[in-house]
Symmetry: C3
């Protein structure tokens, strides 16, 4: 089953991520490395606004992280045309907007990592750091950047 078929089976329709005419890039490929910009939760249109450990529970943060994984898959699909070109996931930096004293960043970012394993299987496993930020753009609870290895 292709990654796209697995996404469909999970009920996660992909949408296109467009490179704007000016400004930043959602990805840059150099050789077989595809560097993705940090992305934030935007799948459901829910207006995420707050820190985990205060406005959001760990479980809600995990839900946000799963939305971020979907968003990165949309960007990768737009970059590559075919998610099957992803040979493996290399490295994830999971950043959790953390209220003072919050220390369950890995449990939050598992929402990101688990979707990658559901979609790519063994090749979705990755090196990772899951850490606590003092703030994130627009006060979203989670932002994640990722490096993919692309088949040559």
């Amino acid at each position: 089953m292709s990654p796209e078929q697995k996404m469909a089976e999970l009920g996660l329709e992909l949408k296109e991520v467009v490179v704007g005419p000016v400004g930043l890039l959602p990805w840059v490929q150099v050789g077989n490395l595809l560097y993705m910009s940090g992305r934030t939760p935007d799948r459901t249109g829910k207006a995420w606004n707050g820190q985990v450990g205060k406005e959001y529970t760990t479980a809600e943060g995990k839900e946000a992280a799963r939305e971020v994984a979907w968003s990165q898959l949309c960007a990768a699909k737009s970059a590559l045309g075919d998610l099957g070109r992803i040979k493996r996931v290399i490295k994830v930096l999971g950043m959790v907007n953390s209220a003072p004293g919050f220390s369950e960043q890995p449990q939050v970012i598992n929402g990101f990592s688990e979707l990658f394993v559901e979609v790519f299987g063994e090749n979705g496993r990755h090196a990772r750091s899951a850490v606590g930020m003092a703030g994130l753009p627009g006060n979203v609870p989670v932002e994640v950047e990722v490096i993919f290895e692309i088949a040559e």
Copy 2:
């Protein structure tokens, strides 16, 4: 026009960054990837000290970020001898020393990104995360690390 000429046109004289006899390295090149250490604002001699959202406004933070971009270009010039050897900017991690509740990290780090586009044009665009830190060395408002692709 070369990157050095564009820097001169912007009134941004380059200064050498020296690798000390002991300690850390301002850059490491491996293959065609040039990894730069995080740098902080040091162009004007202004004693930056404080968080964005408290001691500094977003606009002041953006000014600091532009100083960091200058500093990274000085380091890259020292590393390569010729900024024309930079094929493109790959990835930027923009770190903003953020007061509680501050969430305009992208607007701050745009000060960094915009100078890169002024100097390198289309090849200056990059993948990026712009995020909020609880603290930075010497309480500077901004630190940025970057990966360049070097022409072979």
Copy 3:
């Protein structure tokens, strides 16, 4: 003297890091780059719990950072079988769980960097950022991720 011999001379016995049957990976190698997951202090069994600048002094944070370096060397040994396969250390992201106002992140992460230079000599020097996080998993004071270059 091999890196393993230097570790022994320093009284730092290596222990194996096992890849679990499910979940995250402690490392991913792609080409000659070995990406290590963030690791936390776990050498002595001391229950590290707190922020630097509050529960821990800078000197104690530095001690924790040295434990993290040991832990990364254990993981690299498990990945490679032989630390002599490490050609050089490329890039370190040193993350310090920072109490409000704490700004001595470099002095803390020096505990990490110094052990790498003790073990690998000149090839242990690296590009680095040392920055302050709002929180870390399990409220540990330090987490560090690293990229190694592997001899081909």
